[in-house]
């Protein structure tokens, strides 16, 4: 019981700013006053505000591209990471720790410093302003994360599972694909959520490596509204834009909830 009380109390604290977001994004744009930002508004103008934010912008192509990046790159990244994790821990690759370090090392570079060299390289390789280019860079950024999580996840799996499968005559690839990968579904999903959100909200790579409306991620079209003083955007309009574009991520959270419920642990997969 105490546990539930603590969780509810903390949860309420967390919902406070979320409440502010909802209330002010739904407030008619002209009635915003920071001094009474906490007070609910009688009118519901969320959709109006959002419509105003994207007025005249052609977001369809941009949304489709963003969806493509946020789904494909994490899938590839997680898969590449899981493969690396599997071979390092389960198949005990020689110098595995160093291979792991090499891959994980990809996370230590400050991404802002990669932008200019990446742009120059991409323009030479013909990858500038292509969807493939963005998928590649997002996958590269995501792979170390997948490798780390899956490597450690597989480290906790009893080796007897592997041995039993091999005894039944399965190839190492088949053991990976049919046993290890399905077994790590919650871990894979957690990584996927992380990476999906990162890409969906990414601004820097999307801005620097693309140019045309159809290839650019959707965030690049909206971020200016929220930060640029030249835009003069009323706060509710900016918030509505921020709120509506985060909806896919929220839907993803809710849709994957049951994977993280107690009962779907390793034991039940065996």
């Amino acid at each position: 019981m105490i546990r539930r009380i603590v969780l509810v109390a903390l949860g309420l604290v967390w919902l406070g700013p979320t409440y502010l977001l909802l209330v002010n994004a739904s407030r008619p744009a002209d009635t915003y006053d920071p001094a009474s930002a906490w007070a609910p508004s009688g009118d519901f103008a969320l959709l109006e505000n959002f419509a105003r934010a994207v007025e005249g912008a052609n977001l369809a192509g941009s949304l489709a591209s963003t969806a493509l990046y946020s789904v494909v790159s994490p899938l590839l990244g997680v898969l590449a990471g899981a493969l690396a994790g599997y071979v390092i821990v389960v198949l005990r690759l020689r110098h595995g720790f160093w291979w792991f370090l090499l891959i994980f090392g990809g996370t230590v570079f400050p991404s802002q410093m990669l932008l200019v060299p990446l742009f120059v390289g991409y323009s030479e390789a013909g990858l500038y302003d292509t969807r493939l280019g963005l998928i590649l860079i997002y996958t590269a950024i995501n792979a170390p994360l997948g490798a780390f999580v899956l490597r450690n996840f597989y480290a906790g799996v009893a080796f007897s599972i592997f041995e039993a499968a091999r005894m039944d005559g399965a190839s190492t690839w088949r053991v990976f694909w049919r046993i290890y990968l399905p077994m790590s579904l919650p871990a894979l999903t957690a990584v996927f959520i992380l990476e999906f959100t990162f890409i969906w909200n990414d601004l820097v790579f999307g801005l620097t490596l693309t140019q045309s409306e159809d290839v650019r991620p959707v965030m690049t079209a909206l971020a200016g509204l929220m930060t640029d003083v030249y835009a003069g955007t009323p706060v509710p309009v900016g918030l509505a834009a921020g709120l509506v574009v985060s909806l896919p991520t929220v839907v993803l959270f809710l849709a994957t909830q049951r994977l993280f419920a107690r009962g779907l642990s390793l034991g039940s997969v065996q």
Partner: protein, 282 residues
């Protein structure tokens, strides 16, 4: 660890995709930055070789002291709040009936982008904002150091806690049931059960959360950039913000790259030391 490899040389095929992508798209661009750190360069004219001059300057820069201090606050703070509280929420909720629903409030903020984050929090953190009202104090949260870093850390905790919780939950789920049930039969429960049985068993995923938090907190940039741009008067800069400002705002690519190299070496070294202990142990 001493058992022989199973696939021998062919095993490299499995690491290749990740290793190649990372090497080409992340390591290679950084080589350019490392080269620039040894030059004077404004982004336009050709870089002029200056040897270690930029690194010598690092030791003579007061702003860098402030950034280092703030970065350390970010690292310590991230371990205590988003990670520590994230663990608490995970442990409290993972085996509750309907526990996943208790975690929803913590996940929602994670969906919000950086620019949106600043907009949501500005009426809270203004000098006459909601936080002052609630806490009954009259301070401008984003003005004085190190209070402004702590205020931003609070915002960061609000946003990041959920994802740490999620990873901890995965870790808790992956624990085999037998040892826990065995311990229960022996009469262990509550804190003792957690401390002596659960905690050691969830260690692989704890190492992940801590390792990732270590790296990302050393590189803290976005949240500071949208809320204070490192100010006022550079007092809330982190190493990554200093790097960005020197490179892009002041167009001093050489010096900015030197800060980047320093930051990368520190981050690399910290993760190596941490991972060597944690990862080889698992």
């Amino acid at each position: 660890m001493s058992r022989p490899p199973i696939l021998g040389r062919f095993g490299h095929g499995y690491v290749a995709p990740a290793a190649v992508l990372v090497a080409v798209l992340l390591y290679a661009p950084f080589v350019w930055t490392a080269y620039l750190s040894l030059t004077r360069y404004d982004g336009l004219e050709s870089p002029v070789w200056v040897g270690l001059a930029n690194f010598v300057k690092l030791f003579d820069d007061d702003a860098l002291l402030t950034s280092t201090r703030n970065t350390l606050i970010w690292v310590a703070g991230t371990m205590a709040l988003p990670v520590g509280l994230g663990l608490l929420v995970a442990v409290l909720s993972y085996d509750l009936k309907g526990g996943a629903w208790y975690r929803v409030p913590f996940m929602l903020p994670y969906a919000l982008s950086g620019a949106g984050l600043a907009m949501v929090w500005s009426p809270v953190l203004s000098h006459d904002g909601i936080a002052n009202l609630l806490l009954g104090v009259d301070t401008a949260f984003l003005q004085e150091a190190p209070a402004n870093t702590l205020a931003m850390l609070a915002v960061w905790t609000w946003q990041q806690l959920g994802v740490n919780t999620l990873l901890f939950v995965v870790g808790l789920q992956s624990i085999p049931r037998e040892p826990i049930e065995a311990a229960r039969l022996d009469g262990a429960s509550g804190w003792r059960l957690f401390r002596h049985v659960t905690w050691p068993l969830m260690r692989p995923l704890t190492a992940v959360v801590v390792g990732l938090a270590l790296v990302s907190s050393l590189k803290t940039f976005d949240i500071v950039w949208v809320l204070t741009q490192g100010g006022p008067g550079r007092n809330s800069e982190t190493l990554a913000v200093t790097m960005y400002k020197e490179t892009f705002v002041a167009s001093d690519y050489g010096y900015g790259s030197a800060v980047a190299v320093l930051l990368t070496v520190v981050t690399g070294l910290a993760s190596y030391l941490y991972l060597r202990r944690q990862v080889t142990a698992t």
